[in-house]
Amino acid sequence: MGRSSTVKETQALFQSLRSAYAATPNNLKIIDVFVGFAVLTAIIQVVYMAVVGSFPFNSFLSGVLSCIGTAVLAVCLRIQVNKDNKEFKDVAPERAFADFILCNLVLHLVIMNFMG
């Protein structure tokens, strides 16, 4: 009996999660999709490394870290662009995007140098 209530609670939980998430604005959802894509690419690379072996290690490292880095930076962008965040309301979204681009530039420059 307790089990069915937990199952029902879990279902209610997922329902509320889905409905709450559906309320987020579209631009944030696009960023979320991008983050998901980056993480998925990283996971694919890790699985590939597990299958094929880790030589050359620097290429693997640069590939995985570039995906994770892009994901992290996109999350930072999302934080700064989100209108619900009181701390960042005086930061223009264009400024946040410019910072995002700069950080990505540095990240990918390093990646290209490290990839070998």
């Binding site: 609670e9 879990t10 209610a12 939980l13 509320s16 999660l17 709450a20 998430y21 309320a23 987020t24 290690f57 620097n58 490292l61 640069s62 870290l65 994770i68 880095g69 992290v72 930076l73 999350v75 930072c76 962008l77 934080i79 700064q80 619900d84 965040n85 701390e87 960042f88 930061v91 946040a96 910072d99 995002f100 700069l102 950080c103 540095v106 990240l107 390093v110 990646i111 140098n113 490290f114």
Partner: protein, 787 residues
């Protein structure tokens, strides 16, 4: 943040926006001038050795850096990056490009290139000598920026002034001390400043700069692991104390990813950036902060009831997964014998580790724990201003002040383990003392100001609660309220500048009256604090001039008639070597002198200060501890032509090879068990007089140090050990003396060539002996492991 304000001019009308901005601008100019003066102070206080001796590079390690910089400036960066050095660690060689921290040499090389392209003809040596003072000025400015982020500009200026002069930092960054710490401390403080700035503003731009500054730190010094462990610790602290915010995520997560990548770019670190335990903390906290961020996000979008359900679900599932992952991780880490940590890092965590397992790390004098007086010598007055600063950081406690507290606590612990790490303590101590002094001056000057007669109704003249109150009409009384924030060095005339720092009076007007101290007590306290600062300045200048300016390659002493007697024996010996030996001759000495020999004498050495190959050093140690014949055989198998020993017995120089000899025995004995330390000690005591053991009296080090020593005064009295030597008259059979310097401090011997005819033994029996020895594989019977 309050801005520094100076009210030298006459009365200003309250709540005048123009006057306020004028005051702000004026204060900014004053702060800028003070910063420039602090930079000049930091630069000039480090020039004592150049004035007292000459513009020469000090100690041992800087000579290696100087040689590398010379190579870089001559051959360009690609050759430097791929340089394989065959003039050291003969016959192994050393991959310079992959084992050196390139930050310092690249910095100096860039400065040299830029300056020369502007047609200012500075030599590489001049640039190398003066790199450290320049970067100490930068470090003071970085400390100003960091403390400004934590507490305010007044505290920043005080901290910068303190860091410019603190003896611990001076000791590693005098003009001529061309070592990694010279630029590394600047990089450390600057990285911390950018981290705090990112934390305070939440801007991704500063996060990028933070990662780049961290990259510069990784390039410069092995102590970068301090940063990559301190910042995760702070993030964890913030999360645990409930101070998580999205700014924390922006400050930390990009730093981990970018920082790891950039650290992996430096060849010395390479894949250690992801494989060694020193970096695991950052990854662990990376995962934790993502979990926490997700939790906060879900909490934000769900109702509280649903959130409780989510929490129970996640906790039950997540705990199981977590335990599995941690178990795997522990199994992986525990499978390596050092648990993935490097030897030096393990020494920091367990101070007794090095003495048990790696005698070389334990033998370096810099790696010993400091004594209590050395704290007072190195950070002086700051030692008891730091607790006041810690308390000041708690009111109010912010993210940045909690970071500074964590920094000081960890650096105090590490400085207690290794005296070399007092250097990391110095910036933290200066920051906290700056905060303490600034807060103290705040309170005291506010008390004085509000109690001066003539400032009537001070609380009623306030229009808005956001700026300071300036009401007085007397110029003299206003001058009394301006206070000292820093003092100039003894060399310039003692003009005291006063600066008034005011905080936003957050408490109400009635409360402000309660915070006021009695007038006389405040005045006396201010004077006492100024006196404290004066003592600090006097001590710092004395320490810089007397204690830390010795280049240690040139020694001086006062002669009886008050003149200065100079002992330039080291350079004499190295120049003899460079002029009287062939370019390809190999020189054997203890590893302390390796860098200097390659840099100044330009000869190939067996071992040098890098100490990366313990067995090779143990071989040299064994040779020095063996009798003449065996030592000759070891050296001959390594193609050595000359042996160099440092001997201080004639003049009383205490850091000579006889005093270091027991370490040679220990390190040699660690690899070759036929060398046993008790053989060289009589009743557990190390002696070289008539009571010394025969093993000691017959070993190569004794013979090379004391050969013909009895001719100097007829009795052979060793001024360092304060006894007469044991064996006075002996001849050398396998070595011949070729050079002894003026004060007998450096003695160079040449290996005699092998005899053509061996009396008494035929060639056949000698080779059969050799074969049987090597085939026995018995370490006890082996005298010479190289046969």
């Amino acid at each position: 943040m309050a801005s520094p304000e100076s009210t030298i001019n006459g009365p200003t009308k309250a709540a005048g926006a123009d006057s306020k901005s004028l005051r702000n601008a004026f204060g900014g100019v004053i702060a800028f001038i003070i910063l420039v003066l602090i930079g000049v102070l930091a630069f000039s206080i480090r020039l004592f050795s150049v004035i007292k001796y000459e513009s020469v590079i000090h100690e041992f390690d800087p000579y290696f850096n100087y040689r590398v910089t010379q190579f870089l400036s001559k051959n360009g960066i690609y050759d430097f990056w791929n340089w394989f050095d065959d003039r050291t660690w003969y016959p192994l060689g050393r991959v310079i490009g992959g084992t050196v921290y390139p930050g310092l040499t690249l910095t100096a090389g860039t400065i040299w290139k830029v300056v020369n392209s502007l047609n200012i003809p500075l030599s590489v040596e001049t640039v190398c000598v003066f790199t450290a003072p320049i970067f100490s000025a930068f470090a003071s400015w970085a400390a100003y920026l960091l403390t400004k982020e934590v507490k305010g500009p007044g505290a920043g200026l005080t901290a910068a002034a303190l860091l410019a002069m603190v003896p611990s930092y001076i000791s590693r960054s005098v003009a001529g001390s061309y070592d990694n710490e010279a630029v590394a401390i600047f990089a450390l403080v600057f990285t911390f400043y950018l981290y705090i700035k990112t934390l305070n503003t939440g801007s991704l731009f500063y996060a990028t700069l933070n990662a780049l500054a961290y990259f510069y730190m990784v390039c410069s010094w092995g102590g970068y692991t301090f940063i990559i462990n301190l910042i995760p610790m702070h993030v964890l602290l913030c999360i645990v104390t409930g101070r998580y915010s999205s700014r924390l995520y922006i400050a930390y997560a990009p730093l981990v990813v970018l920082g790891t990548l950039l650290a992996a770019l430096v060849p010395v670190v390479g894949f250690n950036a992801v494989l060694t335990s020193e970096h695991f903390a950052s990854f662990l906290v990376f995962i934790i902060i993502h979990v926490v961020a997700l939790a906060y996000y879900i909490k934000g979008i769900l109702s509280p009831k649903m959130f409780k359900v989510a929490v129970t679900l996640v906790v039950s599932v997540g705990l199981a997964v977590c335990c599995a992952v941690i178990a795997i991780l522990i199994a992986v880490v525990a499978s390596s014998p050092t648990k993935g940590w490097s030897g030096r890092s393990l020494t920091l965590l367990d101070p007794t580790y090095a003495s048990k397992y790696i005698p070389i790390i334990a033998s370096v004098s810099e790696h010993q724990p400091p004594t209590w007086p050395s704290y007072f010598m190195d950070i002086n007055v700051l030692a008891f201003l730091v607790p006041a600063g810690i308390i000041a950081c708690f009111m109010p406690l912010s993210d940045s002040s909690s970071f500074v507290i964590l920094y000081i606590v960890t650096s105090v612990y590490f400085s207690g383990v290794m005296v070399r790490l007092m250097l990391v303590l110095a910036p933290a101590a200066c920051i906290l003392s700056g905060i303490a002094l600034s807060e103290a001056f705040n309170v005291l000057t506010r008390s004085i100001k509000f109690q001066l007669p003539g400032i009537a109704g001070n609380s009623t003249s306030e229009e808005n609660g956001s700026s300071s109150v300036v009401a007085p009409s007397d110029v003299s009384k206003t001058e009394k309220t301006e206070e000292v924030a820093k003092e100039k060095p003894v060399k310039k005339n003692r003009k005291k500048e006063k600066e008034n720092v005011e905080k936003k009076p957050t408490p109400s007007k009635t409360e402000r009256r309660l915070l006021v101290l009695p007038l006389e007590a405040s005045v006396i306290a201010v004077l006492l604090l100024v006196l404290l600062g004066a003592f600090y300045v006097v001590h710092c200048v004395w320490a810089a001039a007397e204690a830390y300016s010795a280049p240690s390659i040139v020694l001086t002493s006062q002669s009886n008639d008050g003149g200065l007697h100079v002992f330039d024996d080291f350079r004499e010996a190295y120049s003899w070597l460079s002029h009287n030996t062939d370019v390809d001759d190999k020189v054997a000495s203890w590893w302390d002198y390796g860098y200097q020999t390659t840099a100044m004498a330009n000869r190939t050495v067996l071992v040098d200060n890098n100490t990366w190959n313990n067995t090779h050093i143990a071989t040299v140690g064994t040779a020095m501890s063996s009798p003449e014949k065996q030592a000759w055989e070891i050296f001959h198998s390594l193609d050595v032509k000359y042996v160099l020993v440092v001997f201080g017995g004639l003049v009383g120089y205490p850091s000579d090879d006889i005093n270091k000899f027991l370490w040679m025995v220990r390190i040699g004995g660690g690899e070759f068990p036929h060398i046993k330390e008790p053989d060289y000690l009589r009743d557990g005591q190390y002696r070289i007089d008539a009571q010394a053991t025969p093993t000691m009296l017959n070993c190569l080090m004794y013979k090379l140090s004391y050969f013909r020593f009895v001719e100097t005064d007829g009795k052979g009295f060793d001024r360092v050990r304060r006894t007469e030597i044991g064996k006075k008259h002996f001849k050398l059979t396998h070595f011949e003396e070729v050079f002894t310097t003026h004060h007998w401090m450096v003695r160079i011997y040449k290996l005699k060539p092998p005899r053509n005819r061996i009396r008494g033994k035929t060639k056949k029996s000698k080779s059969s002996v050799r074969r049987s020895v090597s085939s026995k594989r018995d370490v006890k019977g082996k005298r010479n492991p190289w046969h």
